[in-house]
Symmetry: D3
Subunit: 136 residues, 6 copies
């Protein structure tokens, strides 16, 4: 019996979109108000989806309490109430777009979730801007 489970968590963070290789003019032209040098921020909503076999003894695909704990250790504790550009080594050179944040989160969780489960991240930067990684 193959199924999927999804756990929803959230974190609040500041960020700024900026490519250090570009001039200020080019950054402003491409990223607009998201390039504000003083940062802005979001309430990020994070959905973590695992696909795999349901254990017939527990009826669980994955213990959701354990999944929540792993997400908190890997993502919520280091990301919540932080400045993604300044406080997180992952975004020292990587631009913290929603696409790249989802990519970083996927890799951090991939290390902690058994390879027998497929893993997919959906990240809501706002309720109108959403990213999925990897794509279906």
């Amino acid at each position: 019996m193959k199924a999927a489970v999804v756990r929803k968590e959230h974190f609040n963070a500041a960020h700024r979109l900026h490519n250090k290789k570009w001039s200020d003019e080019q950054n402003q032209r491409i990223f607009g108000k998201c390039n504000n040098p003083n940062y802005h921020g979001h309430n990020y909503e994070l959905l973590v989806k695992l696909v795999g076999e349901v254990d017939p003894d527990t009826g669980y695909l994955f213990d959701m309490k354990l999944l929540s704990d792993i997400i908190k250790e890997e993502v919520i504790t280091p990301f919540d109430h932080r400045n993604l550009n300044l406080d997180l080594a992952e975004f020292k050179t990587l631009n913290p777009t929603a696409e790249n944040i989802a990519y970083v989160i996927w890799h951090k969780l991939r290390n902690r979730i058994d390879e027998k489960f497929d893993l997919k991240i959906t990240l809501y930067e706002t309720e109108r801007n959403i990213v999925e990684y990897p794509a279906d």
Copy 2:
């Protein structure tokens, strides 16, 4: 023209996670507070998705009023305001995890929906814990 339609319904039920083959200690260790012998409960949100061809005469993939009626007959009427463990034959031996509830609902609806439509269930136990069956 192949598309998908999704109908959302809801039911409120009590349940308890418990494996009758295990000791009380093991049940408590695996299921924690979800093992409370006196039960707890949820407002379950149910999404039923059909994939198939749109009828060119009606412009419908499936009549959503009919889909709602089928879901009510097969799921909402028997599940709503019930204790899943005690009141439903399906869970006399099957542990009513969200995964297993989605599996049972899928089979009940599969009997009523023409095989030319693919069928998928998404079940929200809470807004933070979600199950999909089958997996994409």
Copy 3:
């Protein structure tokens, strides 16, 4: 500067509506499917509102982390994943309608929140059935 702050928390519980002084027939007639002897359940959403003066030094009306901790101690820990009728002394004789649950929560929190703050409870039994105590 008088304002209000609201903190939202949630708990999942089983309950049954039943008046022990009435016959089974009367209970069934008045409470319908909510009278199921095997219980049903809900994801309760709880809003706790405090009205008072904002502290000019902190800019806080009340520390929301502290408010969350008080709600967890007084309500979430004892109510979450429980059967309100069987597991909670407050509902041994009091029928756990949403009205009465809000009333009990208000009294539990009133003991912990300084009287200089007005206190109001809004309880969502479902997204369609909501209770406020006290009334505005």
Copy 4:
């Protein structure tokens, strides 16, 4: 790095379900209250999903401001506060079911989005009736 981005927009419109080739009796039997000759209406929520490669220089799969502008030009401006049957050439002969609205929107946007991106539409007619085109 292949990912997906989703942009959410909304429009409010009137419509009526009706097949001009059928008698009034057949229209009423098939479409019920949705056949009201005086129309009814909805707040449509539209999700537009693009799947493709993330640009390593910008960290963007697609500029979401540009995607929002394209959706506004192609869908929101012509559809919002309109009668789909009377005001839109696309539905002069095509019945404006949610399935057909999603199909029309997909074609309008497909002309504006580079073919290197896969395109998918999800349309909420209400929070309970949802259509996806094309199907996964």
Copy 5:
């Protein structure tokens, strides 16, 4: 024990904002796209709030099933899937703004709810435009 209960229901309708005493130019200037002669529509969300004493025998302020039935009879059945301007006698001369719709609903329900309960209507025309009647 004085409290409040709120019941949420919904209906989907077409309407047009128009003052028959004004010229077309003035109607267009004041109501803009809401004046479209072919109508547009909304998914209206309706909250009905009653304030009063909780019955100590039932623990109910008001039977929510009965409240839902009254709302359905007085509002949902006549308003749902209708054109407010054309299909409803109440709006033959009264402009169906959200303010006036709330006012009409209040009067229809006031006739059915015992005067010992205060009655208040909140109407969501969209999630961004909301009306309350009467004001607190």
Copy 6:
């Protein structure tokens, strides 16, 4: 006919809670992770409520398009994608708690809305932390 209208808008901003008169230790003790010197951020949801008389000619209490424009000029344009502490004169010395942000927004809008309307602000910092100013 006295009623209320509510308009919902949103902005995304970075902020940091900090009292310049206090030591770093005291700021950390009182504000915890909200004191992060590199800032964090939120998607703020703003509800602006006006209470007053409905105009019998228009059926409007207030033109919601005009209200939206005023909120955009006074709040969304200056606040959105900004750092409240660094970019806004209002918070150079005032700590940008949700209470104080609501207070500042109220005063900015009060200057633009005719005194015949009562004005109230509800600000969602997250869906779990909400402030109202003034209190009812």
